[in-house]
């Protein structure tokens, strides 16, 4: 065990059935990784363990990691799917750099994950799967359970598959079908080990398999068998307790980024009173937003699964023209396809939400892995001068607020808004304080219903002097007929104009409208509890957690560091330049090759130091802390000792 999860209390002996003496160790935090074949149900198991943990009251953060193939050949390395969960008795910010416990359901899962498990960590494997055939599939010449190569870890080989089959001998299920419950057996064992509540999982299984009572019963039996096995076996002498984390009073639920984003969109529809229209084409990792929204038709939400990405955004533009809140959801490749249509929305100045759940690129790239490499595409990926607001959520739960903020900007300024989520936020989950509906922003809009011209005519491009937004007059409104389109508009009238001076004016007006949003943004929050930091770390999007965790480590080592995290990437907050210029050094960690750093350097002439990584995975807090520490020490001259706690969050 590392210092990170030193027992908080000495082991307390308890008596288990059968006279076995078991001890309970209290920990402040645990990172568990479940790894298995894509068909083993690791994501489901992870999600259930997460729900149990959430309802128990721990703070938590998750990292699902799965291949793009739905079912790669069984037992192979490309087919390995994993789920990492970090839970603690205090507030945490990341899914954990490395697991304390690794559950490997087969040799492939062991081989592809073992290098991440620190020495001494707990390793639980399904012994039944370590057959010569499965070992050969992944290139093990000898069985690692027997050749001594796992001596550096606390290895527990459990015959998970055969014990599941034994438990389900009377279930009436065939061998193949019964075997599929081994993930529930494993979940039961882990639930015992970490004192998780079990009622939620039983209710979940009953609900999920309500039309297949036999399967429900089998899964519940396997789950209970796993739990009881933990309680009675000599293989596990210790169970662990992680106390609930103190959280602000309120109602909580567990939520993933895609769920939060979809609910934020429904809320935006409700708070604006406008029908929500989603035009989308299925794409990983954004499809869950389409799935979630399609379940909320009672809110007047129309979801249109279009023939392609372009039709997705085009239909949303058509709906916006008709007075709906038009939304399109996609990932990077889809944004590439939608670019021309987004330009049309810039030109026609219609409200539109463009959600980009970023993934590894270029091209098809890494469909199921995370990256932040679409920032420059969001900013500039259109022909002509086509500015649009860009915002990014910082955590799964924050996707809800980001969706509402995107809608506020789109509706107020009559502009497409790009929201940059990513694969980590989309699939990752955390506890979320359920907001009070009445406290959500009022997004009501005023449609134009009367001519605004001096001669009683309607001028569709006569702007609001404050926001520079043009009037939104929707079909059906009498006396307001007008034509809009992609050709350059004459100022005020919106008629086609090729006049040089008019084009120059309109280009600058479109830019000024977007730039003007900065004036309405709150002052930038700088987190610098010591107040004397000379080094600042700036980030955007899903790196908030790892950067925050790294900064905490830095501060525990006696150093000062300031953290800034941008919600608004275009326009950036008005005070940002002055803030950045106030620090000796500015570090910008990003999961791309330095896109925000490029913008900051260009815009503010600040010598931002870029720290980048594109591994398809979030940053590790320890690595970021090392980078920040180096910068601080080279700035201040006198190196201090490292974080004495070894990296608790």
């Amino acid at each position: 065990m590392t210092a990170t999860n030193t027992p908080v209390t000495a082991p307390a002996a308890t008596s288990a059935p059968g006279g076995l003496v078991k001890s309970v160790v209290e920990l402040d935090r645990v990172v568990i990784r479940l790894a298995g074949d894509s068909g083993d149900g690791m994501q489901l198991t992870g999600n259930r363990f997460t729900s149990e943990t959430a309802s128990f009251g721990n703070d938590l953060s998750t990292l699902p990691n799965f291949p793009a193939e739905i079912r790669a050949p069984t037992g192979t390395l490309p087919g390995v799917s994993s789920f990492q969960l970090h839970f603690a008795d205090h507030d945490i910010m990341t899914p954990g750099d490395a697991p304390d416990v690794l559950v490997a359901m087969n040799p492939a899962a062991l081989k592809s994950n073992l290098s991440d498990l620190p020495g001494g960590g707990l390793l639980i494997v399904d012994a039944d799967e370590f057959t010569p055939r499965n070992l050969a599939k992944v290139g093990y010449a000898t069985n690692p359970l027997e050749d001594g190569s796992l001596e550096g870890w606390q290895t527990v080989a459990v015959p998970l598959t055969s014990m599941t089959l034994d438990a389900l001998a009377d279930s009436g299920l065939g061998k193949k079908e019964a075997e599929r419950s081994k993930n529930m057996f494993t979940l039961g064992l882990l639930s015992w080990m970490y004192h998780r509540p079990t009622e939620g999982t039983i209710r979940f299984l009953e609900r999920t398999f309500r039309r297949k009572p036999q399967v429900a019963a089998a899964n519940i039996a396997a789950f209970r068998a796993g739990y009881n096995y933990g309680e009675t076996t000599e293989a596990f002498a210790v169970s662990y307790e992680v106390k609930p984390a103190p959280m602000a009073p309120g109602r909580y639920r567990n939520i993933s980024g895609n769920q939060a984003l979809a609910l934020g969109l429904v809320a935006a529809g409700q708070r604006s009173g406008l029908p929500l229209f989603l035009g989308a084409y299925p794409i990983t990792p954004a499809s869950d937003i389409l799935h979630e929204l399609s379940r909320h038709k009672s809110f007047g939400v129309r979801t249109f699964q279009a023939e392609d990405e372009i039709a997705g955004v085009a239909s949303a533009i058509g709906a916006s023209f008709g007075g709906a809140l038009g939304v399109t959801t996609t990932s990077g490749p889809g944004i590439s396809l939608k670019s021309e249509a987004i330009g049309l929305a810039v030109m026609t100045e219609l409200p539109l939400l463009v959600i980009d759940v970023q993934r590894g690129g270029p091209s098809t790239g890494l469909p199921t892995k995370t990256e932040q490499s679409d920032l420059l595409q969001a900013m500039f990926g259109r022909n002509g001068e086509a500015p649009l607001p860009v915002i990014a959520p910082r955590s799964p739960g924050d996707c809800f607020d980001a969706a509402l903020e995107a809608a506020r900007i789109a509706l107020t300024y009559r502009t497409p808004v790009m929201l940059l989520s990513d694969g980590y936020l989309a699939n990752g989950a955390e506890p979320w304080a359920i907001p009070d509906v009445e406290s959500l922003p009022d997004l009501r809009v005023e449609f134009a219903t009367e001519p605004n011209g001096e001669d009683g005519e309607f001028l569709p491009y006569l702007r609001d002097p404050e926001t520079l937004a043009r009037p939104w007059a929707i079909p059906g409104t009498a006396g307001m007929q007008h034509r809009i389109g992609g050709l350059e508009k004459a100022d005020k009238t919106g008629n086609i104009s090729y006049d040089p001076a008019n084009h120059d004016l309109m280009t600058r007006l479109r830019q000024a409208k977007v730039d003007g949003i900065a004036a309405t943004l709150p002052p930038t929050e700088v987190e610098d509890p010591d107040g004397d930091a000379r080094v600042a770390v700036i980030g955007w999007g899903s790196t908030y957690g790892p950067i925050g965790a790294a900064c905490r480590r830095i501060r525990r080592s006696g150093r000062s560091v300031a953290q800034l995290h941008l919600r608004h990437l275009n326009p950036m907050p008005a005070d940002l330049g002055d803030i950045l210029r106030g620090y000796d050094r500015v570090i910008c960690p990003e999961m791309n090759l330095g896109q925000l750093a490029l913008l900051l350097r260009a815009k503010y002439l600040v010598d931002v130091q870029s720290h980048t990584q594109v591994r398809g995975l979030p940053f590790r807090a320890a690595e970021l802390a090392a980078v920040i520490q180096d910068v601080i020490d080279s700035t201040s001259g006198a190196p201090l000792a490292a974080d004495p706690t070894g990296g608790a969050e």
Partner: protein
């Protein structure tokens, strides 16, 4: 009196805005004249373009539908024909190349109370926008698509189009084009379009007749309009327009009438042994063998066979309505699903934010 049935009225702020406008502007005006449909914008097609004739026909015909101007929306793509919305005093969007059917789908699906029209060309609808066209047709979204087919790219100055005949010599094909053309009517029927018609730009009566049936149809209507480009493809339809050759080579389609055409009704359409249709000499066949035109056949293969009679040089071209069948529209079905959802579960935002599993931290 309106002859076109529009869908359920809008609700919420949209309905409020419409009501407010009616209050200040007066009741919705449905008694209109051709001049009411014109805008103050100068029409900028080449002198002599077939688009002028179509514009005049549409401006004259639309008032007869009894729909207020503000309830009509014309969406277009890119190309000469797509300038159309600027000249119509309705709501309009001149969008981007090929995407008009997709934009119109979003509009029609969320606003069933509007009369939605798409104006497009052979390049716009069949080349860059081919995908949107076929998917719109199969979904049967309530809109009327006017496809101006001049068999050439006009706005980019004269390249061959997806409807140009094989061997077409143009700027981009100095040795003749190689690709086989689409027959837009066949393509639409292949996508199971519920309404498909064809008309000639210069035939005001025939065009108006097809447009009326298209407008009255519930679902997606596709009307192919042969349109002369006098600059880059002049005379493309002369074979059908010429007073001498026209009657020889066009087959007028009239629902319920035998398919007889040509001078003195010398030619007719009969069943082919292979299952399709063929041209015969009327005096060589038994009157009972002559096919009686029926636009309501559910199976599109009859209408498809009809569309295949014509060759790429336009001999034996059926003109009129090929198919007009009733099928539920996408927008109406979508509205029904929303109503059904509202009935079975009320819209409770707090309930969905809360979800199934929660816990409470007390102060």
């Amino acid at each position: 009196m309106t002859t076109v049935e529009l869908g359920m009225p809008a609700e919420g702020p949209i309905a409020d805005a419409i009501a407010a406008s009616v209050e200040t502007q007066g009741e919705k005006q449905t008694v209109l004249k051709a001049k009411d449909m014109k805008t103050d914008q100068e029409v900028r097609w080449c002198p002599g373009c077939g688009d002028y004739v179509i514009l005049n026909a549409v401006q004259s015909f639309l008032p007869s539908l009894g729909i207020a101007r503000e309830d009509m929306v014309i969406v277009s793509g890119i190309g000469c024909s797509s300038r159309f919305p600027y000249y119509m005093n309705t709501y309009g969007m001149h969008s981007i190349h090929g995407r008009a059917p997709a934009i119109a789908t979003g509009l029609a699906a969320s606003r069933p109370d509007l009369s939605v029209w798409v104006v497009t060309g052979d390049g716009d609808a069949l080349s860059i926008g081919g995908n949107h066209l076929i998917h719109t047709l199969r979904r049967n979204v309530n809109m009327t698509i006017l496809l101006f087919n001049n068999r050439i790219y006009g706005l980019t100055k004269g390249q061959y189009s997806p409807t140009s005949e094989v061997g077409k010599v143009t700027k981009s094909t100095p040795m003749g084009s190689l690709d086989h053309p689409f027959n837009p009517v066949s393509l639409a029927l292949g996508a199971d379009a519920t309404f498909v018609g064809r008309a000639m730009d210069s035939d005001r009566k025939g065009l108006t007749d097809v447009l009326r049936q298209a407008a009255e149809h519930q679902g997606t209507s596709l009307v192919e309009i042969y349109q002369n480009c006098n600059i880059f493809n002049d005379g493309a339809f002369d074979l059908l327009k010429d007073p001498t050759t026209g009657p020889m080579w066009s087959i007028p389609l009239e629902h319920g009438k035998p398919l007889v055409f040509g001078p003195d009704g010398a030619s007719c359409v009969v069943r082919d042994e292979s299952g399709g249709l063929r041209i015969a000499e009327t005096n060589q066949v038994d009157a009972a063998e002559i096919v009686v035109h029926d636009v309501t056949r559910q199976d599109p293969s009859y209408a498809f066979a009809l569309s295949r009679l014509s060759s790429q040089d336009l001999r034996y071209t059926p003109m009129g309505v090929f198919r007009a069948v009733q099928k539920p529209t996408y927008d109406a079905m979508m509205a029904e699903q929303l109503d059904e959802a509202r009935t079975s579960s009320p819209a409770d935002l707090d309930a969905i934010l809360t979800g199934a599993d929660t816990w409470t931290v007390s102060a």
